[in-house]
Symmetry: C2
Subunit: 185 residues, 2 copies
């Protein structure tokens, strides 16, 4: 299935209100900035009606978020995959022996980073914007990674993902610890 069969109305209803409150806008304020009427917005958040693209587009630009954010539902939790764990995937006609770490929800945005960290640098991160998820794969060295309250020790090939909207840490345990970093929002 290419996308969830969920009702788009309900998704929009939820995400619209979620993003509006995240931005600290009132319903009337957002309506004014976006150039749509309060009544329209009110009904959209109530889950009734079938908005046009232009209406949603105006709202998404007013909220300063990519359009597609309004069309996706929430994501959760924390997960670790040790090297060698995970389900192997026969990737179609390709013959790679690959482990699927995380398949991508429709229309999530994943930015890729490469980091090189030293043991004396402890990296605390304040929570990012709500709904973000971070993926980390250790390439070299060892590191203590995850939520601040409960970081997990990772070795090369280990994988972890955790919500980025909570306080989290990255602490290298060896020199030149290298990690691939994927932020999902």
């Amino acid at each position: 299935m290419t996308q969830s069969t969920a009702d788009p109305k309900k998704i929009i209803s939820a995400s619209l209100q979620r993003e509006r409150l995240k931005k600290g806008y009132s319903l009337g304020k957002l309506a004014k900035v976006a150039g749509v009427s309060k009544s329209t917005l009110s009904q959209l958040e109530a889950g009734v009606g079938n908005p046009s693209i232009e209406t949603l587009w105006s709202l998404s630009t007013a909220l300063e978020i990519p359009f597609s954010v309004l069309l996706e539902q929430q994501k959760p939790i924390v997960q670790v995959l040790r090297k060698g764990e995970g389900t192997a995937v026969n990737s179609g006609q390709a013959d790679y022996k690959a482990i699927l770490l995380a398949n991508c929800p429709a229309s999530a945005r994943r930015d890729l980073y490469l980091t090189l960290v030293q043991p004396d640098e402890i990296h605390h991160s304040q929570p990012h914007s709500k709904g973000t998820i971070e993926h980390v794969i250790i390439a070299q060295g060892r590191a203590l990674v995850g939520l601040e309250e409960e970081p997990i020790e990772l070795n090369p090939g280990d994988y972890i993902c955790y919500p980025g909207d909570q306080a989290h840490v990255f602490r290298a345990l060896e020199k030149n610890t290298m990690a691939v970093f994927v932020t999902e929002h």
Copy 2:
């Protein structure tokens, strides 16, 4: 700017027709499968009108593509980033010294894999579905990666991305070569 200021009508007009032809559907066929009238679809592809979410949703499911694909314009090319290259990013309140390898276009889907490959295994891949892009970051060892016609030697920390809809190779040059694999579609 969070998203291009382009007119959503034109984007939809283009992407709708692009995806329809890619799937080999006629206008009437798609309309029938999606459960929308030919006239509506005709006008949408003509760039007139302001479709409702439900209409677009029906079309996207009929085309078996994520909704957001209809809201974005085209992507290209090949790229290599050696370890140490690339623009450092001050990632907001976080203090990671991170290199941005590839920022994610709105609503692309990126699946994450971890691979361990031996020198005697040469991995040729037939082209995947059109429009896919593959990202590879070498964690350990060395490898010859990229398009079949012109693979590139990569060392730990090196990054490459290339279109996945063309024939490509992954050939490990050392034992236990480890790579992070990201397929984007």
